[in-house]
Symmetry: C2
Subunit: 120 residues, 2 copies
DNA sequence: AGATGTAGTACGACAGTCGTAGTACGACAA
DNA sequence: TTGTCGTACTACGACTGTCGTACTACATCT
C-alpha cells in the first residue's frame, strides 16, 4: 500500500490543521486522530510536528489558544484548544488557492501529456 | 497572481526534475528554464536547490551524470548532463503513485465536502 | 572592452520534521 | 492497590532540503 511520506505532504500540514480548525476549535490529540481517519490511515502526523505547528502558527497569528475542560461539568484533564484567527482564515484561503495552482502545475510534469514548451 | 512557494512544492522538486529527465537527458540550466516555462512562470526553482538535488539524487542512485559538449562539433562549454537510472525510474513511478494519493487526501481536507469520519 | 547570458560551485544559515524521552492525569482490570 | 493503557502533551538535539550570497569561467553580442 502506498503511503504518504512527510516529505511530500509537509507543505500542507498547516493547511490541513487549519481546515480542521475551520469547522470547530480542536486540540492536538483530536486533530492527529482526525488527520489519520480523514486520510484513511495514509497519513499520520507525528506529535512533535503537530505541536510545533501549533506553536509556529500561534506565533504567526494564524491561530489562538484557550484552555478548557473536556466537558461542561469540568471533569477530566484540561486541554489546549486552538481556533483560527481572522488572519488565519485569510491565510487558509490563500493556501487553498495555492493548492489549486500547485496541483495543476505538478500534474503538468507528472502527466504523460505532451507539454508544449514556450521559448525561454 | 498566486505563486507557488517553495515550501508547498518542495516535496515535488525531485519528481519534477525526474519527469524532465525521463524524456531525455538534460542539465541544470536547461531544467531550470523548463520548470519555469512548464509552470508558466508560477514556479522558479532556485539554482542551489536544483544543483543540490542533482548531488543528492546521484548519491542515492536515482540519476547518473556525464559531461558532454553542447553540440556534436565540440563547440561551446561542456555541460554536466543527467539521466535517470533504472532505480530512478522506479523511484519516479513510486512518486507518481504517491502524488495521486496525496492529491486525493489533501483534497479531502481542503474541499468543503462534508467528511464522514470513521471512528478512531 | 564591457555587458549579458550560460553553466555552474561553495558555504553557512535557517526552518520544519523527527526520534527519543519524559511528565502527568484518568480509567479500567487483575 | 498496582499496573497498564489511553489521553494530552513538553523538551531537546539531530537531520535534511532550501535559501541567500558570493564567486568562477567561458561565450556571444554590442
Amino acid at each position: 500500500m502506498v503511503e504518504i511520506s512527510s516529505d511530500v505532504i509537509r507543505g500542507y500540514n498547516d493547511t490541513m490543521i487549519l481546515s480542521i480548525l475551520m469547522k470547530e476549535p480542536s486540540y492536538g490529540y483530536e486533530i492527529s486522530k482526525q488527520i489519520k481517519s480523514i486520510s484513511d490511515g495514509k497519513y499520520v502526523i507525528k506529535e512533535t510536528t503537530l505541536y510545533s505547528a501549533f506553536t509556529r502558527m500561534e506565533k504567526n497569528g494564524y491561530i489562538e489558544s484557550f484552555v478548557a475542560d473536556p466537558d461542561p461539568e469540568g471533569n477530566g484533564k484540561k486541554r489546549t484548544y486552538y481556533r483560527p484567527t481572522e488572519q488565519g482564515k485569510a491565510y487558509y484561503s490563500e493556501k487553498c488557492a495555492e493548492w489549486e495552482l500547485t496541483k495543476e502545475v505538478v500534474e503538468r510534469f507528472i502527466d504523460n501529456k505532451e507539454n508544449v514548451y514556450g521559448n525561454n
